[in-house]
């Protein structure tokens, strides 16, 4: 049996352990929800004070140049690039993931419509993150495309002569299952389709090599594993070949001033900037954007310690440990594993299912009990989150994100111990833990 002492020894020997000191983890909390909102870097409050009090308060309009606000999308993009296998100048930080997905999916459709107009279908996963599907639905309705949703193991068969774009999220938000980006991209290209990747649960958590995989477009989130703060701007990448296309005047229709080739010429006609800058649109929320840099700088600090490869190795060790401890210590409570055991297919989270039949109250009124179990766990200071199933193939999920920048082996042991106590005590059956309210 693995003991807490074993885990504490692993923490003591962990060369990445000092990175935790860059983050302000609230005392008494084991925070396993960094895949929803990352922990605050300690540098963030001072940076916020600087941007607000100094740059805005004192600099005012002059800060656009003096504080280099104009450079933020590119400067931050260049810090994201090495985490996702993109080159310098190929990524910008801007807007939200949903809006960036609209941009790249629009661009992919523009290219497909121009180069291969007979292709009229976007293929995606039925269990993709819902907002990705909503964006695709809206765009399909507007542009006369069809959205075809399939199960993960049906993707290869779904790719055909009608497929314009394959749109996938690299790491599934409900299960932590990860696609083989290179293989899937290759298969899509072989079928003649373009590939759009959503890296929301990948960037900063697992190594990504967009260039190596030959991907076409990607977007990702700033506030999950990149620790950029609540609603931090997202990022967008396009293969340079696509970003630089000049034959398509509106690669995507969010053609605002910041994506113009000469944004200060104030000419009445739109002319797209020649690279990924054409993905920029309107004026960016500078304070939120500036804070994203605090999160990105933690990855700079990780570089001499092995960078994203070392973080990945630790992440796998953490998720392995979590799985092992749950299986050692929480048997008999109807928990199952939704996350793949295969390292090559696992993101940085562990998702546990809970059998409906195992659920609370003798009359079955508590369903699987997963929601209440998570509430009880949160009350004990262990924060993960809950994702409802559909009553069918998708079961209710207890989701635990393990961010190797600030989570340790001891945290994992303690978290599983609290879970065990919640299950053994049955305290989750108390009415207080059954009131649902909005949680992202």
């Amino acid at each position: 049996m693995t003991t807490l002492h074993d885990c504490q020894q692993r923490d003591a020997a962990d060369p990445l352990r000092p990175l935790r000191e860059l983050f302000s983890v609230p005392k008494g909390l084991i925070y396993l929800d960094g895949n929803s909102l990352g922990v605050m870097p300690k540098s963030a409050p001072a940076r916020a004070a600087q941007v607000v009090g100094q740059e805005w308060g004192q600099g005012l309009i002059r800060a656009w140049n003096a504080a280099a606000w104009f450079d933020l999308p590119q400067r931050l993009g260049d810090k994201i690039a090495p985490l996702i296998g993109a080159g310098p100048g190929e990524v910008v930080a801007t807007d939200s993931t949903s809006i960036n997905l609209f941009k790249v999916l629009s661009a992919a459709l523009s290219i497909a419509a121009n180069d291969q107009p007979a292709r009229r279908t976007i293929v995606s996963e039925r269990s993709n993150f819902p907002t990705d599907l909503y964006i695709a639905e809206g765009l399909c309705a507007q542009r006369g495309y069809t959205l075809q949703l399939v199960e993960p193991d049906e993707i290869g068969a779904a790719l055909g002569t009608d497929t314009a774009v394959l749109m996938l999220t690299h790491v599934n938000y409900r299960t932590g299952a990860m696609h083989d980006m290179a293989a899937v991209t290759k298969a899509a290209h072989a079928a003649g389709a373009l590939v759009v990747w959503d890296l929301a649960h990948s960037a900063g958590a697992v190594p990504v090599d967009l260039t190596g995989a030959g991907a076409d477009f990607a977007v990702g989130c700033g506030y999950k594993y990149l620790n950029g703060g609540p609603g931090a701007p997202a990022f967008v990448w396009a293969k340079p070949l696509h970003a630089q296309r000049t034959d398509l005047r509106f690669l995507q229709p969010l053609s605002g001033w910041w994506g113009h080739a000469a944004p200060f010429a104030f000419t009445p006609d739109y002319q797209a900037a020649p690279g990924i800058e054409r993905s920029l649109c309107g004026t960016q929320p500078i304070v939120s954007l500036a804070l994203l840099e605090c999160g990105l700088d933690a990855f700079k600090a990780a570089e001499p310690l092995g960078g994203i490869a070392a973080l990945r190795a630790k992440s796998l060790a953490l998720t392995d440990l979590f799985i092992a401890l749950v299986e050692e210590r929480c048997q008999g409570f109807g928990l199952g594993l939704a996350t793949p055991r295969d390292h090559a297919r696992r993101g940085s989270q562990v998702c546990l299912t809970r059998e409906h039949a195992a659920g609370g109250a003798e009359d079955g009124s508590l369903g699987s009990g997963a929601f209440a179990i998570m509430q009880a766990l949160i009350a004990r200071g262990v924060i993960g989150d809950y994702r409802a199933g559909d009553g069918g193939v998708h079961k209710d999920i207890l989701r635990f994100g393990l961010t190797p920048l600030y989570i340790g082996y001891g945290d994992v042991w303690n978290a599983v111990e609290q879970l065990r106590q919640v299950l053994v005590s049955g305290e989750w059956k108390l009415p207080a833990f059954h009131q649902q309210h909005a949680v992202t």
Copy 2:
């Protein structure tokens, strides 16, 4: 002749003068660029520290509920509503002005395409803010519409049986000229067109009555007269009749999770929220969004002092004074007035033209000299901005925004005196003032 003493006496007698104390105007600066980036409310640094250090740092994911992050778009929208003649629940603060314009213009086209499919033209002003035209261009290219650009006095004649949408900015960014919203809306409706208003230079500066005018859609900016901070999220309004339409599933295609009727149901199919919330898309930049509330609260504080009507009266007095002083004290330097003298047609800025022939250096190489004059003025601590002309009908512009919340009559006198000294001394001809760099 008006003296500085006269102006100081007006300040002393100004019942709105205490509002200035809510803002952190840098010492030694006369800031006449609040129409580009408003001054920081004194409450902003503490609010930033709270959102970052407490809500994010300590609350983490729990802050979505505990700190009511989810309510911000609506709560802030309800504070904007009375400034623009909208009802409670009709406005949300979100995304950028450009992106919101894309949403409402998309929605207007969706309605037009459904109700009056033969109408295929968007009419706008050639001198509209360029990003508005870029967005319209992108959308026209995608949806097969034509963008027809006309001069302000040609709008009435341009409206016809082919007009789907009239898209205008209420107060022109280059001249400060204001449209008669009620009359123009009425004329457009008489022609069967929908009307989209951009209130970027109106909201918080002049009274706006969208409901009274019977307008269809509107967007506006959070960081100009609303003093929300650099790149603060913008706002969006739709006539409830439009926002509540259920026959058009995708009123606009930026159909992200936050605009879903049940955002936490995580259903794979999009179903739009039943009101203006359908304009929400992805996760918002919470820190920037929260800071916008500091700016909006200044308008709450202005309410017992007469609110937006009293601010408007002061704004007109300030712009009247500015015009009078320039005409009294800066004669003979080739300055002209771009801003209408008619109160009913004037926003909250004064824009001066500078004749090209009057421009610097005996060889004419300095053009109108307007750019350099503004640089020299900024060096003296008076911040306005410069907008280049087109060498034809649009002259180079010196632009001065007069925000009645924090600008006084004495400021106006001192600003014009500094302008006079720049012109009399000819110091603007120094090479240091001729280097152009990006200024928004």
